[in-house]
């Protein structure tokens, strides 16, 4: 019976899956917010009224008005322009971190799941150890060693949070290699490497994509947190975390300096979370039935 249901569900074409996604209201909301962020990031040069590092000492800490939509900061820079340029950094960093995490985590998971035995034990032990650390503290330690800077923050965040990829891909691999088509692949003379990357990997991709959309927000949150603490992007880079940091001294006098970057961080993280949940619902047949 379950087999029958699975067959039925598998036969959903990608267009039908897309229709299901469109019916997913929260997912759609996430997609809209994300599209907006992408739009402002891509068109920042056109929609930003001023340059992000244009200092104007005569107009410091001005409240939001028609000329400065989100107000100005302590150096007289236009907060809206800085946020628009900051979207570039946030999205780019999120994507980069996830790519590096997947680049480390997925192959390790494949190897651990495919070969099993002592290799699996070793990789799993490393994964578990990493999991046991509070990620932000480990990332802080790594950045302290590497020195401040956006690149180093990206490296640090990637190093501390690839463990989920390994775990998920390992579990998926273990279930896939017990299936008959893997034996069939071996029966036609495929090598282990080919089986791992051309048979197992494509079958794990759905989970990896969902995990990626769900880890982008935490990647953005970690990098902005590190920037807030002064380890990440250095001034005058319009990083949202750095903006929060600069704005915190004026939080009562000029709350717009920190409220708007915070709002955009929240919205971006939220949009990815909503999107990831929707993708998981659409791509996972069991959740769809329930």
């Amino acid at each position: 019976m379950t087999l029958l249901i699975r067959e039925k569900i598998k036969s959903l074409s990608s267009s039908e899956e897309f229709m299901l996604f469109l019916k997913h209201k929260r997912g759609l909301a996430g997609l809209i917010i994300l599209s907006f962020m992408l739009f402002i990031a891509l068109t920042a040069d056109f929609i930003a009224p001023k340059k992000f590092d244009e200092v104007d000492p005569s107009s410091r800490l001005l409240p939001p008005s028609t000329t400065n939509v989100f107000g100005t900061d302590h150096l007289g820079r236009d907060v809206f322009s800085r946020i628009v340029y900051g979207a570039r950094i946030a999205l780019w960093v999120g994507l980069l971190v996830v790519l590096i995490e997947a680049g480390i985590g997925v192959p390790l998971g494949l190897i651990a799941g495919y070969y099993g035995g002592s290799i699996d034990k070793l990789i799993s032990a490393i994964t578990d150890m990493l999991w046991a650390f509070p990620p932000i503290i480990l990332a802080l330690a790594i950045v302290t060693i590497l020195g401040p800077g956006l690149t180093n923050v990206v490296v640090a965040v990637s190093i501390v949070s690839w463990a989920p990829y390994t775990r998920i891909v390992r579990a998926k691999t273990q279930s896939i290699i017990s299936r008959e088509f893997i034996t069939a692949a071996r029966a036609v003379g495929e090598s282990s490497l080919s089986i791992m990357f051309r048979y197992v990997l494509p079958n794990t991709l759905a989970s990896v994509i969902v995990l990626a959309t769900l880890t982008i927000p935490s990647a953005i949150l970690y990098t902005t947190a590190l920037s807030f603490l002064g380890f990440g992007a250095q001034p005058p880079t319009p990083d949202w975390g750095a903006m929060l940091n600069e704005g915190k001294d004026y939080i009562f006098k000029a709350p717009w300096c920190s409220v708007f970057p915070g709002l955009f961080i929240t919205l971006t993280a939220l949009s990815f979370n909503l999107l990831g949940d929707a993708l998981r619902d659409v791509l996972d047949p069991k959740l769809r039935l329930g």
Binding site: L3, E7, K10, S11, G116, S178, R179, E180, F181, T183, A184, A185, R186, A187, V188, G189, E190, S191, S192, R198, Y199, P202, N203, L205
Partner: protein, 327 residues
Amino acid sequence: MTRVSEALLEVRDLHICYETSRGCVRAVDGVSLAIYEGETFCLVGETGCGKSTLALAIPRLLPPNARLLRGNILFKGIDLLRASESELQKIRGREIAMIFQNPMTSLNPVHTIGFQVAEVPLIHFRMSWKEALVAAVKQLGKVGIPDPDLRSKDYPHTFSGGMKQRSMIAMMTTCKPSLLIADEPTTALDVTIQAQILKLLYELKSEYGLTLLLITHNFGIVAEVCDRVGVMYAGKIVEVADVREIFENPQHPYTKGLIECVVARRKSKTRLNQIPGTPPSLLNPPSGCRFHPRCPYTTRKCLREEPQIIEVREGHLVACHNYDRIR
């Protein structure tokens, strides 16, 4: 049947066990058999008698918890049990191919049918991706997929069970292997498709000169396509003979029982025969002859002593103490 040719495949005293938490399950326990070039050899037996394990052991595709304890598998003079993984990769698909029981799960759901069939010649021959794809489409047409050009671009979930099994056969025969192992290729299909698939296998066999090792529990299939038959019981071969000999003159009580189980067009309203009891646990098999708890001819000797396989007539081997008493 006269045999002048050398054995294509020879299995000698093969022992395989599965390691489980409760101990070692001896799935194949001292099996020896020879398969000659160009013949169709059927391996028959109940579920769990070790026939699939034996089939998987030949191209060395056993799951990781299986242990090859001892024995030899000689294929064209090469001992497969001592071959390296890279040597095996060259043999699998090129020399020895295998078709599985369930076509629903033996195709990769994320690649197109054409891709999966083309993959095989691409591994074994020097050819471009385009040439491999052409070969794949040709082979798909040969196994009876309508519009192979178009259908090769489809994914497995759009194929029916019979079509999937045909694709599987196409995949396994593009390189024209010498030995094709078919592990219950029709069990998961409905009866009309079964006949078509068997016919297809038979056609391919005569066209390519394949040697076929067919594993089944269906005596109807045995009668239809086989040249020689080996009967397995609880990890051992109990009888080997030509197909006519098996049906006309079965010597082992187990073989006899199996044949009597087949629904035949005989006197109406007679109850269908059955073999009493269930197959023994291979974790702790019975002493002596493993069939003795279910055998109607059991003697004291059967409890103590394991019968050796002996040739009772030319090409007819049997492992029973009392074969001459059985009529």
